[in-house]
């Protein structure tokens, strides 16, 4: 299992800020997690549709689709940042 966090507009459109998600065994990546989220109904498939502009962090470091995942990781999805 990994903890998945959602922020800002993504959190709002998905209606959740945090959940636990089961991941496949060793060697699984962010890409596989995104694919499993995309398989869900409604807002999920739309939010993670190809070409959507979101960012991902793993254990609070910026990551990419190729970043490997391990049980216990914290994975966060969010829109491009707009602070300052």
């Amino acid at each position: 299992m990994v903890t998945v966090l959602f922020f800002a507009a993504l959190r709002e459109s998905l209606g959740t800020s945090r959940e636990r998600v089961a991941i496949a065994g060793p060697g699984t990546t962010v890409a596989a997690l995104v694919e499993s989220l995309r398989q869900r109904e409604g807002a999920w498939s739309e939010a993670f549709a190809p070409g959507k502009n979101w960012r991902v962090a793993v254990n609070q470091r910026m990551a990419s689709l190729a970043t490997p995942l391990q049980a216990g990781d914290e994975v966060a999805f969010f829109p491009p940042v707009t602070g300052g």
Partner: protein, 150 residues
């Protein structure tokens, strides 16, 4: 050592910048940037703003940005304070302060820290406008400004 704070409360700009020079005589320059909430953005009136962040990662990202500035220039100290929560037009959002022996390093590092903060630190702005609330879109010009330092 960089000082990084993310907080709901306002801050006293003068007092915060004084910390960069208190008790030392090697500082020749302090450069700072203060960001404020504007009452209009992208053609709409803005009556209020809410700033969201990613507790933990945001502070770490700001520290990393300050450390990158220290690695790049000969700096004496750096400071970043960023507010979150509900803010109104005219209120302070962010303060960046940089101290160094000479002004060139302080000016450059202050701009560098802001350019990276705008594009790398996880904060998100939501504006209240007459047509309802909207999430602020990231600007390509901010991304270009950050890339300019690479």
């Amino acid at each position: 050592m960089p000082t990084v704070r993310v907080q709901e409360a306002d801050f006293d700009t003068g007092r915060e910048l004084d910390r960069l020079t208190a008790g030392r005589t090697d500082v020749g320059a302090v450069a700072s940037f203060t960001g404020l909430v504007r009452a209009s953005n992208d053609g709409s009136d803005v009556s209020a703003m809410t700033l969201e962040h990613y507790p933990g990662m945001t502070e770490r990202a700001l520290e990393d940005i300050c450390r990158a500035a220290h690695a790049r220039w000969d700096l004496l100290d750096t400071l970043v304070i960023h507010r979150v929560g509900a803010l109104r037009p005219g209120e302070r959002i962010v303060l960046v302060g940089v101290s160094s022996a000479h002004r060139g390093e302080a000016f450059a590092a202050c701009e560098f820290i802001m350019d990276y903060l705008k594009t790398r630190a996880p904060f998100w702005k939501r504006e209240e406008t007459p047509r309802g609330a909207r999430w602020v879109e990231a600007r390509e010009s901010d991304e270009q400004a950050a890339k300019g330092w690479e």
